[in-house]
């Protein structure tokens, strides 16, 4: 598909460095965890998790996202997608644990909405650098209990999501959904591996994408060779055993870069 034209209808400032862009298209078939390729014309095209059927939530990190932050309501960008495999949807009555760090909350908020819609009970561990950087707390709260951690202690537990996770009985949950900075996900992964619950956990990975549609191979992970853009971005914990998670990623040339 060629990029669809998406006109920005509303912009919400979620935190000093994170904004949600609502656009005039609705991806009705979107699964929570799926992404779109966002084309800032004349600059670059970057993958972004959908935070709703009609929104992306973006942290300003580089050239493309900086240009995106210059756009105003009425401006437009190109969108292709939704692509990839999302989180496995919860069934009625299941107990879900969401572990979200920073802008990693973006693809997990629609997951909480979906779980809530089928009467699943959702507990969320929501982590960020400081209180100002917490996003979508109210959406997670609408689905169940929220445990907050901040690096600086400005809200909730001072420390990391793993400080809260280590105190919870993970055996109580039917599914565990994780998205956040890779260092955080690797710590969560090790903890869940120790507790022997990896088979019910899912992690959303971030890698440099070129084609975004599973053909070029730029985003393949070791040692499985699975494509983050097509076989993921959401992988089960078992798929990530003996993987590069938390150790290295690759740059645009394919060179390994330590995390």
């Amino acid at each position: 598909m060629l990029p669809l034209n998406a006109t920005i209808v509303h912009i919400t400032e979620e935190s000093p460095s994170i904004r949600t862009f609502f656009f005039d298209l609705e991806f009705e078939t979107m699964e929570p965890g799926q992404f779109v390729m966002v084309w800032i014309r004349g600059v670059d095209e970057v993958p972004m998790g959908l935070s709703r059927k009609n929104s992306i939530t973006v942290q300003k990190v580089g050239e493309a996202t900086s240009k995106l932050f210059e756009l105003k309501e009425g401006d437009s960008f190109g969108l292709r997608g939704p692509f990839g495999k999302g989180f496995s949807l919860p069934s009625k009555g299941e107990k879900i644990l969401i572990i979200a760090g920073g802008v990693g909350s973006a693809p997990l908020a629609p997951y909480a909405d979906a779980a809530c819609a089928v009467d699943s009970k959702v507990d969320t561990i929501l982590g960020a650098r400081s209180a100002d950087d917490l996003i979508f707390e109210e959406r997670f709260a609408a689905a169940g209990e929220v445990y907050v951690s901040t690096d600086d202690g400005s809200k909730g537990t001072k420390g990391f999501v793993t400080d809260i996770l280590s105190r919870l009985d993970v055996l109580l949950y039917d599914r565990i959904a994780v998205c956040g900075p890779e260092i955080m996900m690797a710590s969560v992964f090790r903890l869940l591996e120790d507790r022997k619950v990896l088979e019910k956990a899912e992690f959303s990975l971030h890698r440099y994408f070129k084609c975004g549609i599973g053909v070029c191979g730029a985003c393949c992970i070791d040692r499985s060779g699975l494509r983050v853009c097509k076989d993921g971005p959401v992988f089960s914990g078992v798929q990530l055993l003996d993987s590069e998670l938390g150790r290295y990623t690759r740059d645009a040339s394919g060179r390994r870069v330590k995390i």
């Binding site: 390729m37 994408f209 975004g212 070791d222 060779g225 690759r250 040339s253 394919g254 060179r255």
Partner: protein, 301 residues
């Protein structure tokens, strides 16, 4: 098992260059889970390259447009990936290489030799990388010189991948053969572009690129057909092969084997599906082996 330029292949389907070939693990997956008879790596050059800005590939109704821009970690950066592919794929691994001059080609080839590639494929046909690919591959003298130079420094087969963006592909194919090529691979992508009419911007980050997939198959079949008439060395057919019927057609035009690229979009195990389909076709037709198909259409007059 059959032999192609001295390599033992369990089936005639080969992963095309630039597809799922950035990492050793990915190449192993295509061989083991995908069922490819051999795999060709991403094109590797003398220096690390990040490639063109995105969008670098879009799917059209008739195929795919891409302008990756030869992203690669350079030969020192790729050696460990090549070693992984060699150790774990269980199939011949062909290193695709590019350069701007014969000296760069030989530098890259020699640099990858410690990884023990089973063959080299010279990319003289990428349509959208300035100074590389088709910039050298449209000139028969350069193609012959580059082929001869690489043949001089390696003792494994050398394949040369040809561009269809020339007035007479057999002229370039003949040059490769004269330079000592063990096979030619035809075809690389056809020049193409797409424009976003909402904004007027060309869609690809590089503005234009190369077309692959279903749309290019008839072009590829004709190129293979003509090369079969002109050359003594084997031809490996590539361009829009996505079913066993396409593969059989390509072989009847003169291909000794086929490469598959864009069709991995549908499924990674396309290679087993196609090789199983070819086997069933051979049985149904009572052909003793796959060699009976090669160039068959040339006899039908």
């Amino acid at each position: 098992m059959y032999t192609l330029t001295g390599l033992e292949l369990k089936n005639p389907t080969i992963l095309a260059a630039g597809i799922l070939g950035t990492t050793g693990a990915s190449l192993c997956r295509v061989a083991c889970e995908g069922g490819a008879g051999a795999v060709v790596t991403k094109s590797i050059g003398p220096m690390p390259k990040t490639g063109h800005p995105n969008p670098s590939m879009v799917r059209l109704e008739c195929g795919f447009l891409n302008a990756m821009g030869l992203p690669n970690p350079s030969y020192p950066g790729f050696l460990q990936e090549l070693e992984i592919a060699k150790k774990d794929s269980g199939v011949p691994v062909i290193a695709s290489i590019f350069g701007g001059t014969a000296a760069e080609f030989t530098e890259v080839a020699e640099g990858l030799l410690p990884g023990k590639p089973d063959a080299f494929e010279l990319n003289v046909s990428c349509p959208h990388a300035e100074g590389y690919g088709a910039a050298v591959g449209t000139n028969p003298c350069l193609v012959e010189a580059i082929t001869a130079a690489v043949k001089d420094v390696v003792n494994v087969p050398v394949w040369v991948k040809l561009s269809p963006n020339v007035s007479d592909i057999t002229c370039i194919g003949t040059a490769a053969e004269s330079g000592g090529a063990d096979a030619v691979v035809a075809i690389n992508t056809l020049k193409g572009m797409a424009i976003d009419i909402e904004s007027g911007y060309p869609v690809l980050g590089n503005r234009s690129g190369g077309l692959s997939g279903k749309a290019v198959k008839p072009v590829a079949v004709k190129c293979v057909y003509d090369l079969y008439t002109a050359l003594e060395i084997p031809i490996i057919g590539v361009g829009g092969v996505s079913s066993w019927q396409d593969a059989v057609e390509m072989m009847m035009a003169g291909a000794s084997a086929v490469q598959i690229g864009s069709a991995v979009y549908d499924r990674v195990d396309i290679f087993s599906e196609i090789s199983t389909g070819i086997e069933a076709f051979l049985q149904r037709k009572g052909y003793s082996n796959v060699k009976r198909l090669i160039g068959l259409s040339h006899e039908m007059v």
